[in-house]
Amino acid sequence: MNASNIKIILIFVLTIASANSIASLKDKYKEQQKPKKVVIPQEVLDIRDDINNTWNAIRKEGVFYFLMDGSLGNKYYYDNNKRWSQSSPNFSIYNDGRFLYNDSLKDFFPLFVVDNKIFIPLITSVGKSGTSWKGKTISCKKAVIFSRPAPVGEIDNDGIASFKMKYLKYKDIPKELSTKQEFEVNFDTKECYATGKYVKPVHKCHIASSNELISGNKRPSSNLRDLVRRIQTRLYLQKKNLETCKVEK
């Protein structure tokens, strides 16, 4: 075999090799483009469906309320001189019961009333340490966020409920239950009184259903509408990262 033959063979081999490498990259590219099959364990899907069905039932049969602080002349705060002072309210209430919000929504929290039971939506992050849902423990390698209905109190025969919670500052759904503020609400007359760690004197608070707030606004408040919608859409367990979850018992 002379040198020219060897050269020809080498060129031939290299051509085939490079053609193969191009083909393999092409194949890899095609492979990459295929949507990856996400497998979510059936038990996890069952829990997701149950969470979503639970919220559907609450939304269908319950009333979505906002509990708010800051009526005219009734809002107190601990000022720099360490005295209780009154501040300007977050909203005004008209004689016909309509609400008009000022700029920022801060002292409020959402709640649902269904069958005389009061629930608040509570943000739950399911990570490696897991959380309980109806006696089952679900844990996820990558965090999955969902809102669970957390019980805070019951309405008695006179329409009155006493419970503890705290106002949220610019957050739409609370992350934890709190005992920092005490509330007494008459759901029939819409009377509301509050006292707590930050605002000690007993003062009036307000309760209004989401429908009243949206439809009753004299000046449409986009942040209020957005808030109601945002909460409504966050009441479900999303599908993202569910493939990393498992049910332990």
């Binding site: 639970t54 039932a57 609450i58 049969e61 269904v114 069958d115 039971k117 629930f119 340490s129 897991g130 959380t131 309980s132 849902w133 109806k134 006696g135 669970r148 209905p149 957390a150 019980p151 019951e154 239950l177």
Partner: protein, 123 residues
């Protein structure tokens, strides 16, 4: 026949009703369970901090190396003076004192994922 229809309606209406009373109780149980787990985890973490802090008798060599490099001091001048365990309202805090060419320094120990890390800041 009407009676049968009425019974069927009554049965179907009742079977579709959601049991909120049970949901209320179940969510309470769930949250209690979650809170108990959280408390146990916190207790375990706090115990780990206390045990680690009380058992610390000398600085790890790797820490001494980093500290001496950072402040450009002689590694042999670094002496272990002792640890202080402070009980906070949320968790215990651990700090350690060193004496070296840099003077007497206080270093906080942090515990991320149960991995202790001695700060090489000099306070």
């Amino acid at each position: 026949m009407r009676y049968i229809y009425f019974l069927f309606f009554l049965f179907s209406a009742q079977s579709s009703a959601y049991d909120f009373d049970n949901l209320y109780k179940q969510m309470n149980t769930d949250l209690y369970e979650v809170a108990t787990k959280k408390i146990k985890k916190k207790y375990k973490r706090n115990e780990f901090i206390r045990t680690y802090c009380n058992s610390l008798k000398r600085f790890p060599f790797s820490w001494k190396e980093k500290f001496s490099k950072k402040y450009k001091i002689n590694i042999d001048s670094i002496k272990f003076l002792g640890v202080t365990l402070t009980e906070g309202s949320y968790s215990p805090y651990c700090s350690v004192k060193s004496s070296s060419d840099r003077g007497v320094c206080k270093h906080w120990i942090t515990f991320a994922n149960q991995v202790p890390r001695i700060s090489n800041e000099c306070k």
